[in-house]
């Protein structure tokens, strides 16, 4: 079976700083993979490399058997690779309904239509609304995004990504800035997503990671230190040393 997402020897330096050094991994379809590592390890950079927002110096990226290493970012999205942002990157003056409908329309290739009415795209609007509802955003989806509570904006990050109907979804600290009490609930929502969807999520809270991940990648200083099941990672001395020992419970 082909992997949903495959990275082979990704390299990236900023000047003399190696932020990605020979990164290779494979995500089988439906995997719930956590990417952990201390601050500055290069986790966000890895997502930027995978999605094409940064160009790697070397390496290969394969999505569902297709080499997308050279595809521009927007095309990777259309091929089924979506992401969310660690720091909210939304449309402040659009309401969530508009924003999500926009994402749906982009996916369906309907945004070239400049004479039809948006509201007449009932299928797209309803699909957007269903996504928002599944993330419990239906109540606030008529207000401007900038008026939404922070936690709701985090959910909207996910809603926009889901509207692209991804096969692989990369979540960059979805619970960043969300109070610890609420992050469990947020991950419950994430965990409830389709089992066909392959997930890679970055998360610092080890309780959450061990609860929701089926596999864990550990990254330190731009390199993958190791990967394994939650049990293997929990018992690895090196992980305890470099990660759990220092930044794990900061």
């Amino acid at each position: 079976m082909t992997a949903a997402l495959l990275a082979k020897g990704l390299d990236k330096r900023f000047g003399s700083l190696v932020v990605a050094g020979g990164i290779s991994f494979e995500l089988p379809v439906g995997e719930r993979c956590a990417l952990i590592g201390p601050n500055g390890a290069g986790k966000t950079t890895l997502i930027n490399l995978l999605t094409g927002m940064l160009t790697p110096d070397a390496g290969e990226i394969v999505l569902n058997g297709e080499d997308i290493s050279r595809a521009p970012p927007a095309r990777r999205v259309r091929k089924g690779l979506a992401r969310t942002f660690q720091i909210n990157s939304l449309f402040p003056k659009l309401n969530p309904l508009e924003a999500t409908t926009l994402a749906v329309c982009e996916r369906r290739g309907e945004t070239g239509d400049f004479l039809g009415r948006l509201a007449a795209r009932r299928d797209a609007v309803d699909e957007a609304y269903d996504i928002l509802k599944s993330l419990r955003l239906d109540g606030v989806c008529r207000r401007e995004t900038r008026e939404l509570a922070y936690g709701q904006q985090r959910l909207l990050e996910i809603a926009l990504a889901l509207a692209t109907q991804p096969k692989v979804l990369l979540l960059d600290e979805p619970a960043a800035g969300v109070p610890k009490e609420d992050s469990g609930e947020l991950f419950q929502v994430i965990d409830g997503l389709s089992r066909q969807l392959t997930l890679l999520f970055i998360e610092h809270d080890m309780d959450v990671v061990f609860r929701f991940a089926s596999r864990i990648l550990v990254m330190v200083g731009g390199r993958l230190l190791l990967e394994g099941t939650p049990a293997e990672i929990a018992n690895d001395a090196r992980v305890r040393e470099v990660y759990l020992g220092s930044a794990g419970h900061g």
Binding site: V77, P92, C105, E106, F114, L115, R117, V125, L160, T164
Partner: protein, 332 residues
């Protein structure tokens, strides 16, 4: 604030509501006919205001909706004006096809320019559009044989509208013709703003990085908006040519590019009506102030511009909308 007792509108209906005609809009367009009924002496000024309003509206499409700042938009106004004028000089003075000739010519040049424009942002974009404007202006200046250069294009003659309405000395036909064309272009723009494409433009303005992350082809969207805006600016230029029967280099001057930007910011960027309202305020103010004090009228415009930017971030139209919102709520 939000009343939980009233069930929320279904999503599609809610979006349709945003696109519905408001009373204020109907009143606005009825008021636009007033010069004919109450101020016949000012028909010419009213026509100029409408033409400039259309020009500003075309800029709003790229600036207000797609967030593309252009300091060279007069290039397209002037190209439209000259294309229509030259066609007329060569013997084709039919007004409606004249508009299409002007719009198409500006649109074609806009299409070429859009490949460069869609690749840049911010200061670089301002400089590129500015450079483009200078380029076109200088080209028109040196092509003396074709454009008349600094003397202006002479020998433009506009045929009767629909072969029936003569363009009279008082400017009555011209006024109604301009109003009809501007209104038609407005309807088109309004439709566009409320279309899926219009939403995509707003998305680019709000966050172009996120647009990429939802798979949007930003550059293609910007190119398309730019061509449509160039076309509309060209139509506005052609309107000016047809109703004044002359074209001067001023139509594609940098001054015009700067003025239209000022008007749009005064009226309100991304407000749909900002262009027309800004043009009206600016040009009526110029008309009044320059009677009193011809040298210094720019002083007052400068003051007004600063005041609006400081106190009304969404321009005069944005301010009025807000006021309308307050009054509406207070009246309930």
């Amino acid at each position: 604030m939000s009343d939980a007792s009233v069930p929320a509108k279904p999503p599609a209906e809610f979006l349709a509501d945003g696109a519905r005609w408001r009373w204020a809009e109907i009143a606005f367009w009825l008021a636009a006919t007033l010069p004919y009924f109450v101020a016949q002496d000012y028909l010419q000024l009213a026509g100029q205001v409408l033409i400039t309003g259309l020009f500003a509206m075309s800029l709003d499409l790229i600036l207000g909706y797609a967030g593309v700042v252009s300091l060279g938009h007069a290039a397209f106004f002037g190209l439209g004006a000259y294309a229509c004028g030259v066609a007329s000089k060569w013997g084709w003075g039919e007004p409606i096809t004249g508009l299409l000739i002007g719009g198409a010519f500006a649109g074609i040049v806009g299409y070429g320019a859009s490949f460069i424009v869609s690749r840049f942002k911010g200061l670089a974009l301002i400089m590129i559009t500015l450079g483009l404007n200078q380029l076109v202006a200088e080209a028109a200046n040196s092509a003396h044989g074709l454009t008349g250069g600094a003397d202006g294009l002479q020998g433009v003659h506009t045929w009767d509208l629909l072969g029936y309405f003569h363009f009279d000395l008082y400017g009555v036909t011209a006024f109604w013709y301009i109003l009809a064309v501007v209104f038609a272009c407005f309807l088109l723009t309004r439709r566009m703003v409320h279309s899926p494409f219009g939403l995509a433009l707003r998305g680019i303005r709000e966050n172009s990085t996120r647009m990429v992350a939802i798979g949007a082809a930003n550059r293609a969207h910007i190119r398309k908006a730019f061509v449509i805006a160039a076309f509309m600016a060209g139509v506005a230029g052609a309107l000016l040519t047809e109703t004044t029967e002359t074209v001067s280099l001023e139509t594609l001057s940098f001054q015009r590019s700067a003025d239209v930007l000022v008007m749009l910011i005064l009226g309100g960027v991304g407000q749909l009506y900002g262009g027309v309202v800004g043009a009206a305020i600016y040009m009526v103010a110029r008309d009044r102030f320059s009677d009193v004090n011809p040298q210094y009228w720019y002083f007052w415009i400068g003051l007004l511009l600063i005041a609006v930017v400081v106190f009304l971030p969404n321009g005069i139209v944005g301010g009025l909308k807000k006021l309308g919102g307050y009054l509406g709520r207070a009246g309930r």
